[in-house]
Symmetry: C2
Subunit: 146 residues, 2 copies
DNA sequence: GTGTTTGCAAAGTGTTTGCAATTTA
DNA sequence: TAAATTGCAAACACTTTGCAAACAC
């Protein structure tokens, strides 16, 4: 069965995903394992709950949309994912949680990473009294040439 | 009547608001005038449709929520407002459409301006082929010290 | 066995839309 | 009076929730 094939990506065998979930205090259930495999195997990605749900169904993984939402939030809470705000109508989740920024394609709604060393954000202002900086997000909004 | 008092802010008398709307091709209706006054008189602000609707009601301005949404989008289309994406569950509109960035207070959902000269965003990466940069948004997310 | 997780359907929230009535030019 | 605008209620898209059944340890 597809679910038991842990050798697709030799860098992250099945047992690693189990360990990864365990280490953040999440039980490695069938649904969480399958979603983690979709999310973390292969290249970094930017995805919405709806899209991940469709991908799961295409991969014959039975999981409800509610569980996809719950799982995305749980993964975000424990730092496996990062939520990105670019579009007020949808939540995007990013499997790359290193320091980086984004191109946002207004027309398609797609995102692309900008590695941290490709941009300089310098001379940050002091955060308002009583607060501290949690994160700095740079979004470069691009549109297609006409 | 409150609506006819154009002298609250001497810098933008009533007739200016009318002209401002006309010049962007929007008929100066009662609703648009009243919302424009709430939005553009006084200091720059960051507001959601829901909040503006409540403000309007508090000011005894009869306007439906649908019209508030329509008006905010029309004002955005003609460049009187800018939409800011910081929270995937709500749309924020900014009456300051000069070049600037934002602090976002995660807990309260409030926004504060960061003037353009208070931050350096340098060495922007090339936009992907076939696209051009429409805007660069920097959001500094802050949380309260514990 | 005990506590956790899941799926479902229902409810919730923010937003948009269709259309008749009203207003503007 | 012709065209634009409004308000209402219904529809919508996305997301969360309550709770019984299924599962993990």
């Amino acid at each position: 069965m597809a679910l038991m094939n842990s050798e697709t990506n030799p860098k992250r065998p099945f047992s690693d995903v189990i360990e990864r979930l365990r280490s953040v205090g999440l039980r490695p259930t069938r649904q969480r394992l399958a979603l983690a495999k979709l999310l973390f195997e292969g290249v970094d990605r930017h995805i919405t709950a709806e899209k991940l749900h469709i991908e799961a169904q295409e991969a014959s993984i039975r999981v409800s949309l509610a569980t996809v939402y719950n799982t995305l939030h749980q993964f975000t809470d424990v730092g496996l994912l990062r939520e990105i705000a670019v579009d007020s109508s949808r939540s995007y989740f990013d499997t790359n949680n290193s320091d980086h920024h984004h191109f946002f394609f207004e027309e398609s709604g797609d995102l692309a990473d900008i590695e941290d060393d490709q941009i300089d954000v310098a001379r940050l202002p002091e955060p308002p009294a009583g607060t501290h900086i949690e994160r700095v997000d740079v979004v470069i909004r691009v549109i297609e040439d006409k």
